[in-house]
Symmetry: C2
Subunit: 500 residues, 2 copies
């Protein structure tokens, strides 16, 4: 694991550690110190600043060369012209990795300076993340070089501004630090857990290829998200991705798709965006799931972290609101899935439910199944059971809208057992932004059944599972993947049981 | 205003008022009583139930024919077979309108019974909303026939389950009651205000044509939302819509677009969905803005309730995160708008801002304007001022991401004045689901500048303003519309000032 020293360093020096509370060098040093005190960061951290004696109580060093202890990692937050000098010293001090936060390199045309630091790194066998980046957040090891403070003061009180998500299974690689911060914010606020966050900025050394290769082997990572404006080593990237996607899903948000977007990207990271059609094809061929927009990027992260891929595209819909069933059917078909009328085998079983009074006589059962406004948990459970057993269905979309008067408050708990046993990917949806809608979605989420606030987002997430599943089948690794994933989810569900 | 007795009745009888707290007839009667006690519903309400003496303390009547006082409206929640009898009595008692909540009519094939009630209504000159519907919620008059309780009990405590939105400018017509409930839930939870909600179910009498005609003249309604699985009188609907859209925007969510969706719709409301391409064209020709999905339906409602339509499709982007600018540019272009490089006139002015140190030297100014990670409120304000004055720009997308360390907590307040003066539609975006992101969006919303949580949703909403604006220009009513709308928004902003 060649990049491990970045994520699990024993000794870290923060070069440019500052006493001014809002300066990047201060925030980064404080992050390490706080995480060390909290028992999360297990290494040692040293502030480097020739002008300070102590920072936050810790003795300060004027150079890494003064340190007696071994350091693996340096985090550099000094003005660009000074970077070569401190990097040289870091090499001499035996650092294996440097995260260079400082900007003022190729992104403003200063290409020579960037070459210079790459050469210094090569000389000492060091690797660089950056420059012009936010760096790393590792939710497990407590490495946090994000210089954006967790809270901002608003009218005298702290307000969560750039929260760090809890530990989880989703890794994020981002070319844009600002976009990375917004995703951390989204994930933390939505209860999505993260494994590793890497903002690599100008990626003068460590790039997407290195990172997806590393994350493929990372035990904490189950889903790899990647935000791209351009790709540094296109051919190698897609070659490596083709292997990685057989083990873990990669979800890409590739921007700069239009001429205006490409022009904006060029002025942002100086990178040429390339033809969008070619990217589209390359993503598809290498099994990368491309997200259309920010929302799908996050929705797919959630679904892949929690659900099995679907073996095919034949989806069943079970709803208590007819209109929502129509909308979901539209969305699935428009995205290439199918909502086929059930076979006689299923229809007979459902008809029997009607005859035994479990389903209302006027329920629609063709697919969608509409248990209507007299819905109960039992109606959902029995319908899921029947559809879940059928070979003709690859995934189930569930719309147990809480507004129905006959649905008791504990209906989520009462159907979750059946959902787990059904052995197919199941996604839930409840629409609304008031208390109970949020409560219902959170419950489903906690039980490992990803829940979404609109039928279209639920359908789109299901189609993510379909796209990935079909790729796995095509490449002959579906069964192997499923076995591993089932084991993971089973562990997770056991955990959820004991907690709920 | 032919339908006024539905929304502002002096006397209302609830036929089928029940003593059982969860029955529709009980909830509806209780809604009226609660709103009467709260001083919101200004009429009188009478419970009709031959088996009860009192309901919630009020003396009960066995028939509307027993009432001495005049009634305008009856709300009917009795089993379908009894509906003709009570409707006949209502006609004799002089009711002008009947909202028939009861199901068991054409939606289950009982077409004859539905014909029968239509004939009875005609005989007495009554109008019917329904049957098989949720009925009406009027946030101003307190008429509320929604039989879904506001709260459900969860572990002994009430939880908001089907909240009613506060009074506002958005009206909703829906063929699906369940979908209607989800939208009320979304609006209430998102702080969107409503004028009138109408779920008309089987719409055996009052239909979309009557309702958009009525809402066009309704003083509280500024935006008309309509959820459709089918249209009852297609030709008339689009003829009337063509006139209404010159005064107020109509946003349609038409489902049953695919073969699976159409099949689901047929089993839901028994209606044939029709060719989606034909609907698409008809919507476009009549100036109706079609929403692609639930989220756009709500996003457009919000933008039309708060912003001016755009005169053209030339959009400017101002951001403090380069990546977000790229994504917004992509989204605008993919939806048919343009992000053109600014003219020399604008560029010179922006360049002057750089020279005077107001914008950083490395800021991108081509369009998008990227004020970068050293953003301040002043940088945004000055950029908005320059772009806002330019004839070459029709609308502005703003991305003042709060994560930037240099952005002080009060930046929204500090740029809102400039935004208002710029005289162009402005939409804001801040991404994240934690405290500060939500706070920033809520602040913008309260100041009348609609804010969205992703760049793509912000762009899509802007393109809604563009689509509508171009239609208004084409039909020659843009200036007239703008004058009226400016006056409305100005009033609103004054109001916001005094409250914030």
């Amino acid at each position: 694991m060649t990049l491990n020293f970045f994520f699990n360093p024993k000794g870290v020096a923060v070069i440019g550690a500052s006493r001014e509370r809002r300066k990047p060098g201060h925030v980064i040093f404080r992050n390490f110190l706080e995480n060390l005190i909290a028992g999360q960061f297990k290494g040692e951290v040293y502030p480097i600043n020739p002008k300070a004696e102590r920072i936050l109580g810790m003795p300060c060093y004027s150079s890494v060369l003064e340190l007696r202890d071994q350091i693996d990692l340096v985090v550099i937050a000094v003005p660009a012209p000074i970077v070569p000098k401190v990097l040289e010293e870091s090499g001499k001090a035996g650092a294996k990795g440097a995260i260079i936060i400082s900007s003022g390199f190729s992104e403003v045309g200063n290409i020579e300076l960037e070459h210079k630091i790459v050469n210094i790194a090569h000389k000492y066998g060091m690797r660089i993340i950056g420059p012009n980046c936010v760096g790393i957040y590792d939710a497990y090891s407590g490495v946090d070089t994000i210089f954006l403070e967790v809270s901002k003061m608003v009218e005298g009180a702290p307000v969560l501004a750039t929260p760090r998500p809890k530990p989880g299974k989703i890794a994020l690689i981002t070319q844009s630090g600002a976009f990375g911060a917004t995703i951390l914010d989204y994930m933390a606020g939505s209860g999505l857990g993260i494994s590793k966050f890497i903002s690599h900025g100008n990626r003068c050394d460590v790039d997407e290829v290195d990172l997806i290769r590393y994350l493929a082997e990372d035990e904490h990572t189950e889903v790899i998200l990647i935000y791209l404006e351009s790709i540094r080593r296109g051919r190698e990237f897609f070659e490596v991705a083709r292997e990685v996607t057989k083990i873990k899903p990669i979800v890409a948000l590739k921007v700069g798709r239009t001429s205006a977007g490409a022009r904006a990207a060029a002025s942002h990271t100086g990178a040429l965006a390339g033809s969008d059609e070619i990217f589209d094809a390359a993503f598809r061929q290498s099994g990368i799931i491309r997200a259309e927009d920010t929302e799908e990027f996050m929705d797919l992260a959630k679904v892949f972290a929690n659900q099995l891929p679907a073996k095919g595209k034949r989806i069943a819909i079970i709803t208590d609101g007819g209109g929502l069933g129509v909308m979901a059917a539209d969305a699935i078909e428009r995205l290439g899935g199918t909502i086929e009328k059930f076979s006689e085998t299923i229809l007979e079983k459902l008809d029997k439910l009607k005859k035994t009074g479990i389903l209302p006589e006027f329920a629609a059962i063709g697919n969608p199944i509409d248990v209507t406004g007299v819905a109960t948990a039992e109606m959902f459970a029995k319908s899921i059971e029947i559809v879940g057993q059928a070979d003709e269905i690859d995934g189930i979309l569930l719309f147990p809208l809480h507004h129905i008067p006959t649905l008791e408050a504990d209906y989520v708990e009462r159907i979750v057992e059946t959902i787990r046993k059904c052995g197919k990917p199941v996604i839930a949806c409840d629409v609304g932004e008031a208390e109970m809608a949020k409560m219902v979605r959170t419950k489903f989420d906690k039980f490992g059944i990803p829940a979404y606030p609109t039928p279209e987002r639920a359908a789109r997430s299901m189609m993510g599972l379909v796209r990935y599943g079909i790729y796995l089948v095509k490449t002959g690794v579906y069964e192997k993947y499923l076995e591993r994933k089932c084991q993971l989810l089973f562990q997770k569900w056991n955990f959820t049981y004991s907690k709920s």
